[in-house]
Amino acid sequence: MSGLDQIFVWIGHRAAGWFPASVQPLVSAVLAIAGVMAVFGTCFALTTLAERKVLGRMQNRFGPNRVGPYGLLQPLADAVKMLTKEDIVPFSADKTLHFLAPLVLTVPVWLAFAVLPFGRNMSAINLDAGILFFFAVGSASELAVFMAGWSSQNKYSLVGAMRAIAQMISYEVPLVLSVVPVLMLAGSLELNDIVAAQGTYTFGGLARWNVFTPWGLAGLILFLIAATAESNRSPFDLPEGESEIIAGFLTEYSGFKYALFFLGEYLGLFAVTGLAVTLFLGGWHAPFQWLEWVPSWFWFAAKFGALIFLFIWVRATLPRLRLDQLLNFSWRFLVPLSLINLLVAAAWYWTGAWKFPVVAPIRWLLCAALIALPYHWLGRALRGAMPPPRKYIYAE
């Protein structure tokens, strides 16, 4: 079990062992960085391909299948195309900010991977305030989007950037609030502790992941919705809604800078997905006790891949929202629901002390009802707040 499980840790140790002791921390840090960048860089390439293929299949098309066997070399072709394109900077653009924006977006996103535990003993740094670090470095992306949109001196860019910021600010609130119950129940901001808190098994060897509790399930769904919006993905892709504002804040970008934006957006999605896996899906723990022999990093990767597939699936299914629907949905539905979810988590915590027969199902149902009823009411209220369905006079 431990051989394959710890193979990357072992490789890192051996590689660092060749260097003098004084630089060993530096070397192991560099190795961790290189590992993360290599793995998630590849992951980026594969996801762009997978996204196009899965989207194609969901729309009864083939998707890319020309470059290489089954189109597997498509990312390579895309990369060559992107990097050989002319880098156009608009004449009236703010050159410095136009240049800095992709960097400001991409660099902090890489930092966010530092605290994610990818497997047993496999996180680059153990920060005491890991979650806070994650959200703190993620907050730079809003400024980057603004810089990109404003510096382009293009009205579509500016509108896209303003939409992006309004959306990111609105959805950051439920994103953080849906994480709080996990922190409350785990009693720590450190991601390794949160994973460890989900590491035990209950009856039948089923894992005690947060998603198997009412507040965890609700939290995961809230988190995923907010994460979709944070990473500007469909159905919340208004900032880049190509049918309305060309490409939003990306309109004036081309070539390598555009590729960097693309990379930054996907990495942001990966980081948030990794966080969802860590917080709600038990991190690198196996779902059943008898599956513990499978390496921990495999479980992380499997859950990660499943969530990425889910994001692609949602993108293939749902149409884009309107801006007022988007903001109403956040402030009138997600934020109150995530606040109520806090109360549910507290109720779950207090009912944990109950001692009478068949307590587990009762406790589960009670807490589930506590979140399901507000969900129903808020949903109805939200539907009431929306304008009524449009009446068509001529088309019918």
Binding site: L97, L127, D128, A129, L132, F133, F135, A136, V137, G138, S139, A140, E142, L143, F146, M147, W150, M162, I165, I169, E172, G187, S188, L189, E190
Partner: protein, 172 residues
């Protein structure tokens, strides 16, 4: 030595950001430079072993306040360089001497105080858990007050920012 260099870098970033934020003519540049200064300060907090505060600084100042400022700049059309911008240079005579005077006082008192040349206590650690416990015990009253204050500020900002319904004004 490494610490010293890191400190100097962060300090340089902070000061450069602050000076640029106060001197540049384009308000969006000012706001972004201010964000840079706030980020530099966060780095200095991290260097001072105040992890939690450093991240909070980054989250709140860079993630929220800088964005708010940028939004306000755009909403008040401040990004355009006004024709009156040249005259604002003439008001430097008000600000700079006062700032320099205060600065001189502060620096003089810092330099004159011998007790301030001290080295940090070793191995300071501020675990998040301890911060949380303190917030819930010793500082629970300020915490609640802050909560109330923030709620009031939120409501106040919304009320102020609300566009009042267009009433017919007879004399306009």
């Amino acid at each position: 030595m490494l610490n010293e260099i890191a400190f100097l870098l962060c300090a340089a970033l902070t000061l450069a950001g602050a000076v640029a934020a106060m001197m540049l003519r384009n308000l969006v540049h000012c706001a972004l430079c201010a964000a840079g200064a706030f980020a530099g300060l966060a780095a200095i907090y991290l260097q001072l072993d105040a992890e939690f505060v450093g991240f909070a600084q980054l989250l709140i100042y860079v993630g929220a306040i800088a964005i708010l400022i940028v939004f306000t700049v755009l909403l008040t059309r401040g990004a355009e360089i006004q024709p009156g911008a040249a005259s604002s240079a003439s008001s430097w005579w008000k600000g700079v001497p006062v700032g320099a005077l205060v600065l001189a006082c502060l620096i003089w008192s810092i330099m004159a105080s011998p007790s301030l040349v001290r080295l940090p206590s070793p191995n300071v650690h501020a675990p998040v858990k301890q911060i949380g416990e303190q917030l819930m015990n010793q500082f629970v009253m300020p915490l609640e007050t802050i909560g109330l204050l923030l709620t009031a500020a939120l409501l106040g900002a919304v009320v102020i920012g609300l566009r009042e319904p267009r009433t017919s004004e007879p004399n306009s």
